[in-house]
Symmetry: C3
């Protein structure tokens, strides 16, 4: 447990809870898992990004495993999502919004923690992106989907923008709650716009040799 501004902690816990709900709903939707599987996937999604971040910046044991607020919120998110899932008409949309909330907050927290751990500007931005997409990538891999970060051009990009704005405002001495919320909002908006208009980055010019991803031959 580190002494950090209460507002940043609130942002981090918000992302943890959102990813906990999101991972659990993904489990309900994608794989019809039972309550334990649902909560476990919620916890992995919520805690995964922060654990990867803390491993890479050598802040071990990870804050998300040591501080009870993180794992309790992650588990609570999973249980709530399990209980509510039958009342959700628009499961897909809820999943996407919660994922965007987690992505945005974790990009901000990940990059600011990396910078304050002594990393340089570019590595801190990179680490913000890894924190933001890490939990969701593990989530998708475990339920056997190609991860969002690979499938959707506007998944890594908004995280990159959020992390870059965070690192930029810290470097220029402008960081604080407004800057953090601004960076997170920028990431969130770009992600939601991309989802709404189904935007993607350019695809490869030609892929005549494309093979189904499920094939086994070398």
């Amino acid at each position: 447990m580190r002494s950090e501004p209460v507002t940043l902690l609130a942002l981090d816990l918000t992302g943890t809870f959102a990813f906990g709900l999101n991972g659990a709903l993904t489990a309900v939707r994608a794989a019809r898992l039972d309550v334990v599987g649902v909560v476990v996937l919620g916890m992995i999604t919520a805690l995964g990004g922060g654990i990867i971040r803390d491993i890479l910046i050598d802040a071990l044991p990870p804050a998300t495993l040591v501080d009870w607020r993180y794992y309790t919120l992650a588990a609570a998110g999973g249980l709530i999502a399990f209980a509510l899932s039958k009342h959700l008409r628009r499961l897909e949309q809820t999943i996407n919004v919660l994922d965007a909330v987690g992505l945005s907050t974790f990009a901000v927290i990940g990059s600011s923690k990396a910078l304050s751990s002594g990393l340089g500007v570019a590595p801190s931005i990179l680490l913000g992106v890894i924190t933001a997409v890490g939990g969701g990538t593990i989530r998708d891999t475990l339920v056997r989907q190609i991860p969002s970060v690979l499938r959707s051009g506007l998944y890594a990009i908004p995280a990159l923008v959020g992390a870059a704005v965070t690192v930029g405002t810290i470097e220029w001495g402008l960081y604080g709650l407004p800057a953090a919320l601004g960076a997170a909002s920028a990431c969130f908006l770009i992600r939601m716009i991309g989802l709404h208009f189904d935007l993607n980055a350019p695809e490869p010019p030609e892929t005549s040799e494309r093979e189904p991803s499920s094939e086994d031959a070398t």
Copy 2:
């Protein structure tokens, strides 16, 4: 290599060997891999949980990579399983029993190592569960199965019980070989009962929106 009671080391090595056999048999069954693939999957399954544990409690480099007994036993388990696989009539059942042995021993060792590294009660229990299910989760992911920890309600739960009993007896000063064996046995029995009666935790109340896990759309 740490100075630890011989009996706990024996428990840890038992789990390593069981997971080495288990991972190798899974490779034989699920994906018809050659001898190298079989041994590699055995070693990943046997060493994965302990490596994740040692990363998270900041005990690097991991004991399982530094102490020759671990990686040798893991590789031996893989080779033995490869050689014996054609003589095994009940491959499925053997795989399940070996997996339960690894799960039980690693829940006990993982939670006790976490506690002695200075983590609190709840994080130590969590880490016991992560140690227990970690190697098998990597194993299942690599051969493209939904991991047991998500599929089966009675996979994470017995690990949780084993880790909780371990941490409880340590906290109350009652820990020793009998307590460790009792915690591991409790985990093993719950897992085997769950497998025998095909028990699962409650499933989500309604999943009208269920989609096949192999689908790619966001």
Copy 3:
């Protein structure tokens, strides 16, 4: 950033660039990803092995995230591969050669870094293999293929040879650029011969119980 011989750094950067190209071409071929997905998979493939290595030898934060040359080369490889992919007639073959280059250089660098971090002979060889196959294993898992290290007998074996020659020459005081290049060449040649003749290690003697890898039941 560590002070290391320029030649070894060159070998490491060569492998990083090769894996960046390789991962990106894999993304183009296997999953028809957009430019962001292609670059991200290139970077994960290029940086993954070194990150795992630095976590396991406790050299955190990882050199590949801190030193701009690594992540820049990895991203450049991804972009170049995206741009060139339509001009590549023999995508499969290019992917395989680049993978073998990355495998060879990372086996040498990984094992020598492990040894100089204080690990013993066998753990250093093991770590060389993990470094060499790590990035590609994450790559394959993310695009839902059974990893090469499990599928192909002559993938882990050449990495093992490269790492063993590296560690052997260091232990005997014969290490230097020639030895490093010799170790990498040995690994590369064995891998290419295996690919050319489609060699594999012996398969399990009998697998009557074989089940499709995509099946879900425990």
